[in-house]
Symmetry: C2
Subunit: 276 residues, 2 copies
DNA sequence: GGAACGCTTTGACTTAAGTCAAAACAGTCC
DNA sequence: GGACTGTTTTGACTTAAGTCAAAGCGTTCC
C-alpha cells in the first residue's frame, strides 16, 4: 500500500522487456523457460478469455504473454495513464479502483485468479479509466496492447470470449451503480455479506446447511472502498446490523444470524411495476 | 411516459414477428420493402457496430434486422426480464435506466441514432440488467438474440466492432460511478453542462467562441435521474450554480457564464498522487 | 378563457453519511 | 513484555441531500 508509485511503474516497465519470466518461488521449477511455456498454455486454457481455444491458438498466445510477479500493494497502472495492455490474473488478487481528488477511493472490481482486466484500455487505446493495484502478492500474465490486438484479429474465438468477459464486467458495474444510487450503507453491506456467503467462502462445514459464517476477503478499509463509503461509516453499518440481530461480528469473521432479514434489507421487494 | 407497460410489451412481441417493417411516415416511401432493405444496409454501414463491413456482410445483417417504431415513453424491456436481443437506434432516443424499489430512477445511458444497446443481455443471455424506454418517437433496428449470435460467429469483424462498442459503454459506466461516488449534485450538474456544451448542442453561433448557451436535451426530471438525484435537489443545484454566477438559467436554455470555474468545480485538480 | 395536466420550484423538516480527532485494538518486532 | 505501527471503532459535529407537500408555471385542449 505504501509502495511508492515510481518504483511500481518501473517494475511494470522492467517486466515488459522480458519475454517469459517465471519468478514463482513456491513450486518446483527446473528449466524455467520451457516448463513455464508449457504449463502456461495449459493454465490459460482454463481462464475465461482463453477457454475453448485450440492448442495452436494457445501457443501463439503464449508467445506474446509476459509474466509479472508483484508484491502486495503494488500499483499496476494509474487512472489517466496511457494504455499498456491487457492482464490475466495467474494468482493473487487485483483491485481496480478510482481515487477522488480528495483521496476517497472507490473500488470498481476485484479480480482473482483466472480473471482478466484492463481490456477496455487495451481495446480502444485510450487512457486507463481506473487504477489497479495488487491486494496481495500476485502473478499476472500481461499482453502488450498491439500484440493483443493482433491476436484478437487472428483468432476470432478470442474476440467472442472477450465479448463475454466484457459483458460480465459491464453487468458488474451496473450492479455497482444500482447499489450506489439506491442503497444506503447498511444495505450495501448486507448485499455484500450475502454475496460473499453464496460465493462459498467461510467455513467449509457440512453441506447440510450453507455455512452462515463468512470470512471477509478484504480489510474493512478496503471493504469500505468497495462499498463506496469510508471506514468510519462502514464500522457503524456493522454495528447497526449487529444491533438489529442480523449478524454477529468477530473481527473478520461475520456470522449471518438472519439470512431472511438480511436478504430483505439488501433487496427490498419492489412494490410498484410502472415504468418512469 | 404514462404508456402502460403491457401495451408496450405487446408492441415488442408484435414486431418481433415481422421481418422488415418500415413504418416511417415522414420520408417518401414507395415500395416499402425493397427500398427499406437497400436503404437500411447503407444506413447500417454508418453505425458504430456495423461500420467497415462489406456489402455482403451487410446483406446478411439486414436479413435478420427488424424495424420497430415506437412512440415517446414506450418501454422496450424491463430490468430482470428475459433477454430478447440487440438494438440499434435508427432515429430518436432511448434511455437505459434502473428503478429502485422506492421508485427512484437512475439513468445509466442515453442512446441516439447510430448507437446500439442491450448487447450485454444479447451476448450472455441472462436477464436485462436495466430497463429501456424511448424518450421520443423512435425507430429501432432489432436483432433477435440467436440470429445476432450467429451473425457474430460468422462475421468476426462485427465481434471486433462490438468489442469497441462494449468498451465505450464500460467506460461510460465507469464515469457514472466516479460521478456518483465522488461528486455532489452541483458538481455533477456542472460536469453535465460542460459535456453538453462540448458535444456541440446549443446555438450554432459563430465558430469564433464555442457557444456558451446550451439547451438541455432532457427534461429536468430526466436530468435528475441521469445525475442520480431527484428533481427537487437538481432544482436547488441549478439555483446554487446561478447564485454563484456560474450559469444563467432560462427554462431549458442554460448559459455558461464562467467556464473556468465550472470546470474547476466539475473536476477539482488532484492534489495527491499516492495510491491507496 | 379556463380547467386540467405535468413539470418545476420552494419551504420546512429529517436523516444518512461525511469530517476530524481521539481512543481502542491488533499484530509485529526487538 | 512493551514500543511501534496500522487498522478499526467511537464520539461530537456538520452538511448534503432526500421527503413530503404546497405553490408556481406552462401547455394543451375544449
Amino acid at each position: 500500500m505504501q509502495t511508492s508509485q515510481k518504483s511500481t511503474l518501473q517494475t511494470v516497465a522492467q517486466f515488459s522487456k522480458l519475454k517469459i519470466v517465471s519468478r514463482s518461488s513456491g513450486s518446483c521449477d527446473h528449466n524455467e523457460e520451457m516448463i513455464g511455456e508449457f504449463e502456461l498454455s495449459s493454465w490459460l486454457q482454463r481462464t475465461l478469455v482463453f477457454q475453448g481455444l485450440s492448442r495452436s491458438q494457445l501457443v501463439s498466445i503464449v508467445q506474446i504473454a509476459q509474466l509479472q510477479s508483484l508484491n502486495k500493494g503494488e500499483l499496476l497502472f494509474k487512472q489517466g495513464s496511457e494504455a499498456t495492455g491487457f492482464f490475466v490474473v495467474k494468482s493473487g488478487r487485483v483491485k481496480v479502483f478510482q481515487v477522488s481528488p480528495t483521496g476517497k477511493e472507490q473500488i470498481l472490481n476485484i479480480f482473482e485468479a483466472g480473471e482478466n482486466f484492463a481490456e477496455v484500455a487495451a481495446l480502444d487505446g485510450k487512457p486507463f479509466p481506473a487504477s489497479a493495484a495488487t491486494l496481495e502478492p500476485t502473478e499476472l500474465i500481461f499482453f502488450p496492447r498491439q500484440a493483443f490486438l493482433d491476436l484478437l484479429h487472428q483468432h476470432p474465438d478470442i474476440a467472442i470470449n472477450m465479448l463475454i468477459s466484457l459483458s460480465q464486467h459491464l453487468r458488474h458495474l451496473t450492479g455497482v451503480i444500482e447499489d450506489l444510487s439506491f442503497k444506503d450503507v447498511p444495505q450495501r453491506l448486507a448485499t455484500y455479506l450475502l454475496k460473499l456467503s453464496r460465493s462459498g467462502i467461510g467455513e467449509p462445514s457440512t453441506r447440510s446447511h450453507p455455512t452462515n459464517v463468512v470470512t471477509l476477503d478484504l480489510t474493512k478499509s478496503q471493504l469500505a472502498s468497495a462499498l463506496g463509503t469510508i471506514p468510519a461509516t462502514l464500522s457503524r453499518a456493522f454495528y447497526y446490523l449487529s444491533s438489529e440481530g442480523l449478524i454477529a461480528v468477530n473481527g473478520s469473521q461475520i456470522e449471518l444470524l438472519d439470512r431472511d432479514r438480511l436478504q430483505e434489507l439488501s433487496y427490498p421487494t419492489k412494490q410498484d411495476c410502472s415504468p418512469s
